[in-house]
């Protein structure tokens, strides 16, 4: 094959070859030349070759010039004594096969353009092959989909070595088609199972890729929404699994369960938990199967436990899940870091939900109130502004706990009877204690916190304080609010005159710092 210099020449040469192959079967050997270019080092050339292959095999598929049915190995084909046409078709099918394999390899090409093009071409083949199946239908109306080819695509997407999030975001648009989504789910669960079995520890990159792909799958809400098919079908049959939302759900569930049953890195766990409650749980056929993952995550501790709460809550609330020691574990989650983590609002929203039942025992609520107020001793003001009304709401809901702020006629104690180290709220003796912490917080430097803590000085008012606006409060908002607040009178001034930066004698700064 003579080569013209430059990409234009290559394109022209490939075009000529393509014409020749499509024109007559006698020139079929030119396919080898095209396939050879696919192996090229040059990015431009590869792209040209991919385009040429796409056109060539696309045309052949449409014409039906590829062998249909179980493909025998190449040697037997050549040796066999079938008709020339049949031989040609089989041979061409083999070329098609090798082309697809090469394209699959190209999904790992360093250049993104090549990857993108390869993906597009493969998906085109999937579409054409679906329309003109390369296997014989076993019965009338048999649903045929190029599963091996598609599985290869998915495998290429879920790389072990490289983060393919860009390519996956390209692939996302195919996922809008119902059949592609269905087969993606199947293929993905296969791939995940294979990879996880092969490796003792699932590689992080693979996890990332898999999570990106899995989280891109979103099921429709209603059966009637299943109508868009990537592979064009003349008519849809009710017997096909792909047309039923139930089957989709089952595949979805299999995929996620298969993914989540492995030991995942914490970052992935976090991501999964964040989307758990609104994009995974509602689509599962049996949401309660998620309990394994959720309990595992809940036992990890820290922020992950907080996130797992949400999913657990949905299971308990909507799916009748019995979860032993739920409150005990929730109690265990309360540690000083709870006020400093990113998911504070979410956690307290859920905690408010969990503790909203009026049937909870008083000792439990008292333990929570005491624990929270103990933790409030280390909290920043924006968190205090939220947690103080929270505690007061608890006391309002459970009048039996009001002894925490009002215990007339009892003797002075030597020490706080509450045991902060006790893990079981029942044994923490919180009901015998009082909320002295809130009394201390009445001396807090921020006026609003001080006011919020002073609420317990009076008999608590009956209506609960709405927490919703306080949950998302940030320090910056508190700061802005303080700045904007207008005082009634003029600004009060210091009357002791300044004598310099470290001028005052009783100043701490002056004691510990010097200017030089």
């Amino acid at each position: 094959m003579e080569r013209d210099p430059g990409p234009g020449g290559a394109r022209r040469a490939l075009g000529r070859l393509l014409e020749a192959v499509l024109a007559s079967r006698g020139e079929a050997n030119a396919v080898f030349d095209i396939l050879a270019v696919l192996q090229s080092e040059d990015q431009e050339e590869i792209q040209e070759a991919v385009r040429a292959c796409s056109r060539l095999f696309g045309a052949l598929l449409e014409r039906g010039e590829l062998f249909v049915g179980q493909l025998p190995p190449e040697e037997t084909v050549m040796a066999g004594s079938q008709g020339a046409t049949r031989k040609y078709k089989m041979w061409m099918r083999h070329r098609y096969h090798s082309c697809c394999n090469r394209l699959g390899e190209l999904l790992a090409h360093p250049s993104f353009q090549v990857k993108e093009l390869a993906l597009g071409t493969l998906m085109k083949f999937v579409q054409l092959e679906g329309a003109h199946p390369l296997e014989k239908p076993k019965w009338e109306g048999n649903y045929l989909f190029p599963r091996p080819l598609f599985k290869m695509v998915v495998e290429g997407l879920l790389s072990l070595e490289e983060d393919r999030s860009l390519l996956l975001s390209q692939f996302r648009e195919y996922l809008e088609h119902d059949d592609i989504r269905y087969h993606t789910m199947q293929a993905a669960s296969d791939v995940v199972a294979r990879v996880a079995n092969g490796h003792p520890e699932v590689p992080l990159i693979f996890c990332n890729n898999a999570f990106t792909l899995l989280s891109a799958v979103s099921l429709p809400r209603q059966e009637s929404d299943i109508s868009s098919f990537y592979v064009r079908r003349t008519e849809l049959s009710d017997k096909w699994k792909v047309t039923h939302l139930k089957e989709h759900r089952r595949a979805f569930q299999l995929m996620w369960l298969g993914f989540l049953k492995h030991k995942l890195p914490l970052s992935i766990c976090k991501k999964v938990l964040v989307i758990m409650h609104d994009s995974i749980l509602p689509h599962l056929a049996q949401p309660s199967l998620m309990i394994d993952f959720l309990t595992r995550a809940y036992d990890i501790g820290g922020a992950i436990s907080l996130l797992a709460l949400n999913g657990l809550f949905i299971l308990i609330h909507k799916h009748n899940l019995e979860y032993p020691d739920f409150y005990r574990k929730l109690y265990g989650l309360l540690d000083p870091s709870v006020f400093h983590v990113k998911y504070r609002a979410r956690f307290f929203h859920l905690a408010d939900l969990f503790l909203s039942s009026s049937h909870l025992p008083a000792y439990l609520v008292a333990a929570f109130a005491k624990r929270l107020s103990r933790l409030a001793l280390t909290a920043p003001p924006e968190a205090l502004l939220m947690v103080l009304p929270f505690i007061c709401n608890l006391l309002r809901r459970h009048p039996a706990c009001r002894v925490l702020v009002h215990r007339p006629g009892s003797p002075e104690l030597d020490a706080d009877p509450y045991d902060p180290g006790e893990e079981d709220p029942a044994k923490s003796r919180a009901l015998e204690s009082s909320l002295w912490e809130l009394q201390a917080l009445q001396r807090h430097y921020h006026p609003e916190v001080s006011k919020a803590a002073s609420v317990i000085n009076q008999v608590l008012s009956v209506p609960e304080v709405s927490l919703a606006p306080l949950l998302e409060l940030t320090a910056f908002e508190v700061f802005e609010r303080d700045l904007k607040k207008k005082g009634p009178e003029s600004v009060p001034l210091e009357f002791i005159p300044a004598r310099g930066l470290l001028g005052r004698r009783d100043d701490l700064c002056a004691q510990h710092f010097t200017l030089s």
């Binding site: 400093h340 001793l377 003001p381 200017l515 030089s516």
Partner: protein, 892 residues
């Protein structure tokens, strides 16, 4: 009969409206037909409409009506014949009766013409009037006329009398009946009558008015005459009157003189010079009042009490007695008992240690340190006298700075070089260019002069205001520094310029602050200059509190904004530069930090809290900055003794990074610190030698602005110094928060860490002693575990049924809703009533019909019976006759 009478008598009692209503319509109703709905109570203003009813009469009327309408319909139910009234225009109200008649007549003529008299050529038609032949009428025409004329005047007079003496209705009745009786005369309508009456009364009115006017005119004329005569009689009175009215009093030379003298500018009697003791006493008084004010603000209770007047109950006797006076204050404990003294903070701080100085001492010590100030003032006065002849004298020095003689010399030198007046800078760059390249002394002088040239008092020139301001400016401005000394410079600045000056020196604060920030970010920071400028800032702040607070808020917001941006992008923020720390420190010096709420101080506190919670400590510099923030924070709350959770956390973290990492027990680190990681042993010093050579000394602020340790030993020494500062702060916290109820819970983590600290004995002895003393302090604090008790809420007063007073503007209307709402309600009510009425009517109709049908059937039955009987009769007679005939035959 007696019973009937008593019933009648009973009716009479409430029956005034009965008479009024039923009287004219039916003067003498049968008492047995009257039904009375007796009311239990008379309600003023309620209209009673259905108190009396005549059921029999109304029933009869209803039946009559039904027989006329319903019964007719019923009877004609199967008949399809229709009666059509073809009289022309009978039901057309648009046509007047005359026209109608004319048309009818024309039509009739036409018809007659068509039918009968086609061939009638002589058209003699009989003309009629009211159906009578005109020819007939013409014959006795005059008789009718005379009749009318004779009657007319008589009736009119009767009418008038009747109208004036009441009984109009009766009269009208009579009148109409009378008129009806007269045939041929057109009856006068009621309307016409009334119109006549009105016309008459109007005429009378007009006459009366004319009469009055005449009288008025006459009296006026009389007055005029009287006046004329009066001038003749008494000459004086009218004259003075006139003078007052018309002529202005002539300015008397004497008066003018007196007034001029009175308004003349002159030296006012000034207060006598006060003695030292008096001055001191006054000062103390002033400080005491300021302190009281500060305490009031600290407790933060003022606004609730002063702003809202208490609720006044309806039963209040307004005798000033208030139940349960509201004298709440923050709860505090002392020695395990509730602290009820007024100034608990003072006592607590007094009692705790000698290290802390309470308010009392702080009240006094400025007094002591004032003396050198006033001396320096005197000195400077002397100096300025030496260099007299300049229009603007240096009256005031930066208070509180003891100038060394070197400094004074430099200053003197600077004074000779620098120009005396400066235009106030309009922008920060201008100020910077003014100040750049000059020595500290020169810069200070420039700033001072800018401030003086543009002093706001120059414009106002108002003594009272000046005094007030002079008072504001603090003690440094003493009595000899009388504000009026500024007056001579008035000529230079001018009244217009003063206003301008005030504005620019307001801005000056912002520029100076910015300049301070600039100086702080320089490398190395010019801390000495900042130190001096703080005094200027303080003075400016006293002059313009509003703009000063605005500028400080502005820089704080800037800093917070930057941090927020960093947190949003990176999830954490770095400690800001030294400038922000200096700003925070300055804010604490300019404004009272002990206020419960303060427009500047509260945001500054939040800002510091952010610094301590959001900025991870990653190097020694961060530690120094953090500790400085802690110091500032504690200074802020030194008087109010408020609790700062973040500070405890931060100190815990600092202590933690000074110990070797361990599996911690008994404490948890929070956000900016991590138990394990890169910087978790930042302050750990393991070099024995460095520890031995370490001397405790104050940290330099230069550390905070990127000073790098030259040697490892230096770095280690700094680490140890940081640790020492941290421990000192912990001790301070322990002393300060000892009174808090859950003190031991607050300090438990600190305690755990400190025991750990002690456990490893590698630290210098001084630090170990410090640790030990902190621990013993902690031990000494008592547990305050008095169970909480809610304050007794005021008992909810019994509900007193004091009447609710509603202003009734219109009677008979439903109150308390808008017009539309009322209209809607009215319509709904009306609909309901109409609906009910319709149902009742329909029911009655049906009953009536049924009754009619029944009577019809009965009638028919009776008829049939009668006929049957008749038939039987006739048959019987026939039979009888036949039998008789038969018998006769037999007999024959």
């Amino acid at each position: 009969m007696g019973k009937a009478r008593s019933a009648g008598a009973r009716r009479k009692a409430p029956g005034i409206p009965v008479g009024a209503r039923g009287g004219p319509a039916r003067p003498n109703p049968n008492p047995f037909e009257v039904k009375i709905n007796r009311q239990k109570f008379q309600v003023l203003g309620r209209k009673t409409r259905h108190d009396v009813g005549l059921p029999g009469v109304s029933r009869a009327r209803a039946i009559q009506k039904r027989t006329q309408t319903l019964l007719k319909e019923y009877k004609e139910r199967d008949k399809s014949n229709v009666f059509t009234d073809k009289r022309f225009g009978e039901y057309n109200s648009n046509i007047s009766p005359e026209e109608k008649m004319m048309k009818r007549f024309a039509l009739e003529q036409q018809r007659q013409h068509e039918k009968k008299s086609i061939y009638n050529l002589n058209e003699d038609e009989e003309l009629t009037h009211y159906g009578q032949s005109l020819a007939d009428i013409e014959k006795h025409n005059d008789i009718v006329d005379s009749d009318c004329d004779a009657d007319e005047p008589g009736t009119l007079s009767a009418e008038l009398t009747a109208a004036h003496f009441g009984g109009g209705g009766g009269l009208l009745h009579k009148k109409t009946s009378q008129q009806e009786g007269e045939e041929g005369e057109k009856p006068k309508s009621r309307k016409a009558l009334i119109e006549e009456l009105i016309a008459k009364s109007k005429q009378e009115k007009r006459e009366r008015q004319a009469q009055r006017e005449d009288a008025l005119e006459l009296t006026e004329k009389l007055d005029q005459d009287w006046k004329e005569i009066q001038t003749l009689l008494a000459h004086k009175t009218p004259k003075s009157e006139n003078r007052d009215k018309k002529e202005k009093p002539k300015p008397d030379a004497y008066d003018m003189m007196v007034r001029e003298l009175g308004f003349e500018m002159k030296a006012q009697p000034s207060n006598r010079m006060k003695t030292e003791e008096e001055l001191a006493k006054e000062e103390q008084e002033r400080l005491r009042s300021l302190e009281a004010e500060r305490l009031r603000r600290m407790l933060g209770k003022d606004d609730e009490n002063s702003r809202r007047p208490g609720h006044v109950s309806a039963d209040d006797l307004s005798d000033g007695f208030i139940l349960g006076e509201d004298d709440r204050r923050l709860l505090s404990y002392k020695d395990g008992k509730m602290n009820v003294e007024e100034e608990q903070s003072r006592e607590a701080s007094d009692g705790e240690s000698e290290e802390e100085e309470g308010e009392d001492s702080s009240e006094e010590d400025p007094e002591e340190s004032d003396d050198p100030d006033s001396h320096s003032d005197l000195e400077s006065d002397e100096e300025s006298e030496e260099g007299s002849g300049t229009p603007e004298k240096e009256r005031r020095h930066a208070p509180g700075k003891r100038l060394t003689s070197d400094g004074q010399k430099a200053r003197e030198a600077a004074r000779t070089e620098l120009p005396y007046t400066f235009v106030a800078p309009e922008s920060f760059e201008e100020l910077k260019s003014l100040l750049s390249g000059k020595s500290i002394e020169e810069q200070l002088l420039v700033v001072e002069r800018i401030q003086k040239c543009n002093h706001p008092s120059l414009a106002v020139g108002n003594k009272a205001k000046l005094e007030q301001r002079g008072k504001c400016q603090g003690r440094s401005e003493q009595a000899e520094n009388h504000p009026l000394t500024f007056v001579p410079s008035k000529a230079t600045a001018g009244p217009g310029g003063g206003r301008h000056g005030a504005l620019t020196s307001q801005k000056l604060f912002g520029f100076l602050l910015e300049y301070v920030g600039d100086l702080a970010t320089n490398d190395p920071p010019d801390l000495r200059m900042i130190d001096k400028l703080v005094v200027q800032l303080y003075n400016l702040c006293q002059m313009f509190p509003e703009s000063a607070s605005d500028s400080i808020k502005f820089v704080l917001r800037d800093a917070m904004h930057e941090m927020e941006g960093m947190i949003e992008t990176k999830g954490r923020a770095a400690f800001p530069g030294l400038d922000v720390l200096i700003y925070l420190k300055i804010a604490g010096m300019l404004f009272p930090t002990s206020d419960f709420w303060h427009p500047v101080v509260t945001p500054a506190l939040v800002c510091m809290s952010q610094l301590l919670t959001k900025c991870p400590v990653r190097c020694l510099q961060d530690v120094v900055k953090g500790l400085f923030v802690c110091c500032v924070f504690l200074d802020y709350v030194s008087l109010s003794q408020r609790f700062i959770p973040e500070l405890i956390n931060f100190l815990l973290g600092i202590l933690y990074i000074a110990t070797p990492n361990k599996q911690n027990q008994g404490y948890t680190l929070v956000h900016p610190f991590r138990a394990f990681g890169k910087n978790s042993e930042l302050l750990l010093v393991s070099d024995e030698e460095d520890m031995a050579t370490w001397q405790r000394k104050s940290l330099s602020l230069h550390w905070a602005s990127g000073l790098k340790a030259q040697t490892k030993t230096e770095a280690n020494h700094t680490r140890l110094s940081c640790l020492a500062v941290c421990l000192a702060l912990v001790k301070r916290c322990v002393l300060m928060y000892g009174v808090l109820p859950s003190f031991h819970d607050i300090t438990r983590p600190l305690r755990a860490l400190l025991t750990e600290h002690l456990a490893d004995c590698s630290h210098p002895r001084e630090l170990q002693e410090l640790c030990q003393s902190i621990l013993t302090e902690m031990e000494n604090q008592k547990h305050h575990c008095q169970p909480l008790i809610c304050e007794k809420s005021k008992p909810v007063p019994l509900k007193l049924f004091t009447p609710r007073l509603v202003k009734v503007l219109e009677f008979g209307r439903k109150q308390g809703s808008s017009k539309e709402e009322q209209e809607r309600k009215r319509l709904i009510h009306k609909h309901k009533r109409e609906f009910k009425g319709a149902i009742r009517e329909i029911r009655k109709d049906n009953q009536f019909l049924a009754r009619m049908q029944l009577s019809e059937i009965m009638e028919r039955d009776v008829e049939r019976k009668r006929k049957v009987k008749q038939l039987f009769n006739s048959l019987a007679t026939q039979e009888g006759e036949w039998k008789a005939l038969k018998r006769k035959k037999f007999k024959k």
